[in-house]
């Protein structure tokens, strides 16, 4: 345990002192500002029309004009944060020749890689927490009142899910940094995975759905719903989809479900907001899948690293 703590604090200090953290933080801050700017434009009008509940949650989800919401920003750029913090975690230590010196100290090998992962995760958590607080603070200033308790809990849940989501990309980056000896290779592989899961998965999902259940001019509603279901299933391979679904449920309390049925029967289902517990229940599978993906990714890198030969 002692070794893990030492590695954790050292890595954390490295992250916070590094130039790449500064760049990331500036990027995130910029995104946060953009989100607030959009929200300021749209929320004012809405408030004037009818005072709505959960205004603070809107700060994260409202979009306007050409600028997407903070949520979609995060779902696109969250992976980059994780990858940038993780892609050279292990192989740069080989490149610098520090790994054999450090692992020759009385320290279990797993403490080292665990410490690195946890430090990355803590960095992500702190980074996201600070930007959420900035957005909330600006929101309070703009609106003139504070968030309700339910809103705080929901934002807390949002923070947790975002951390896990970025944590997945962090562990993927670490996995590639264990697999590839060169930092450029691991960076490229991580970026490729990011592009695939964020952009290409849409095309792939459509393609697979078209193959299994082709749509024609005479297709009935069963075919349509089957088509959509297949598409959804394929899309859920991607952590970005899981993240979007999970955070939508936490930030939009009226959100009832993700299936086509829920969307079609909108008129028949009451639209009053759900309590947080119920919202979480809807996205429970997404949440578990996200955590599992992160854990599996890290477990693979852990196993490979433990078996790896440490050659200077």
């Amino acid at each position: 345990m002692h070794g893990l703590r030492v590695v954790f604090w050292k890595e954390l200090a490295d992250h916070f002192g590094s130039r790449r953290f500064m760049i990331l933080f500036l990027l995130i801050c910029f995104i946060g500002m953009a989100a607030i700017y959009i929200a300021a434009q749209t929320i004012g009008e809405e408030l004037a029309r009818a005072p709505t509940e959960f205004v603070f949650l809107r700060l994260f989800t409202s979009q306007g004009g050409a600028l997407p919401s903070f949520l979609s920003f995060l779902s696109f750029f969250g992976p980059l944060i994780g990858i940038i913090l993780g892609f050279d975690a292990v192989n740069s230590e080989y490149a610098r020749g520090t790994i054999s010196r450090v692992l020759a100290q009385p320290l279990f090998r797993d403490s080292w890689i665990n410490g690195k992962f946890l430090a990355g995760l803590a960095t992500v958590a702190v980074m996201l927490m600070s930007i959420i607080l900035i957005i909330l603070g600006l929101g309070i200033r703009m609106l003139g009142f504070g968030p309700a308790e339910e809103e705080i809990w929901r934002i807390g849940a949002f923070w947790g899910i975002s951390t896990i989501y970025v944590g997945f990309w962090l562990s993927l980056g670490i996995l590639f940094s264990v697999l590839f000896r060169r930092t450029t290779s691991s960076a490229l592989a991580s970026i490729a995975a990011w592009i695939f899961f964020t952009f290409f998965i849409y095309m792939l999902a459509g393609l697979i759905a078209d193959q299994i259940s082709p749509l024609g001019p005479e297709s009935g509603p069963e075919i349509w719903s089957r088509h959509e279901r297949i598409k959804d299933t394929v899309m859920r391979i991607s952590p970005a989809t899981l993240f979007e679904e999970a955070t939508t449920a936490t930030l939009v309390p009226t959100f009832r479900g993700l299936s086509l049925m829920a969307l079609l029967s909108k008129g028949e289902i009451p639209t009053n907001p759900l309590p947080l517990g119920q919202s979480l229940l809807i996205i429970w599978p997404q949440l578990v899948s996200l955590i599992a993906l992160t854990a599996i990714c890290f477990a693979i890198s852990y196993v490979i690293f433990m078996k790896q030969e440490i050659r200077p």
Binding site: G97, V102, P106, L107, E309, I310, P312
Partner: protein, 316 residues
Amino acid sequence: MDLVVETKDLCKYYDDVKAVENLNLRIRRGEIYGFLGPNGAGKTTTILMLLGLTEPTSGEVRVCGYNSTRKPLEVKRITGYLPENVGFYEDLTARENLRYIARLNGIPDRESAKKIDEALDRVGLLEVADWEVGKFSRGMKQRLGIADVLIKDPLFAILDEPTAGIDPEGANQILDLITEMSQERDITILLASHLLHQVQRICDRVGIISKGKLVAEGTLDELGAEMIGKGESTIKVQVSELTPNLLQALKRIEGVREVESSGNTLRIKCAGDLRAEVSCAIMEAGGTILELRGEPHTLEEIYLRYFREGDLDARA
């Protein structure tokens, strides 16, 4: 517990390549052991097995009585390791780098501050202690690597090619540091290198490894004697006057291979110990011997000799 390192029939195979084969290494307390061999002979693999960073295919390694494969943590606690091409965190200062290592060794910051200053002073880096290591030269990094070993007060230190790629002056500084480490702190040292004259200067005993096997082991004298046994020696003679007659007489002796002369001094390479025959021949030829001695073998000669044999084995 007189032996610091003991390996029993240590083997390491990578697929079909035998990196280390039936290695029986014994290093006694307090000595500087030179571990010699060309690149790729299995030196680093052996070192990694000593530290428990690589598992042997078969055989056993013990460091100070601890089995390196099963109790790597105990071994790492008492062993300092300076890897080949040692690296540091370049954006941290020398002091911060050492503090990290001290913490990993469970030394509290209060104690380590003093130790770090001491170690940095020892290797002559105290003035640059707060520089980022990225600004250090190669020689400085190697010296910092030695400070890094000293921090943990090891019983045993493994130094892998500590002087490779360093200018002669820097190399000398490092060799002096190693000797001091051994003498003042009573640290047993394993020095792996292919730079023979350096090893020769400071090592008590050497082992020569070739293709994963230990082909020779002993003090330099022992190895030299062994070579004479195998039929090779050099005799240095100074005579009062060098005549062609004398040279002829020397060349006629059975077993003499080569006679070199410079001024009145002769170097005679011959098979076996022919000192008696040489002195007789000089007297008979009417010469006067001012000085005659068997020249000690340099490690280089010994080394080359083993590798020539190794090549012959390989060809046969």
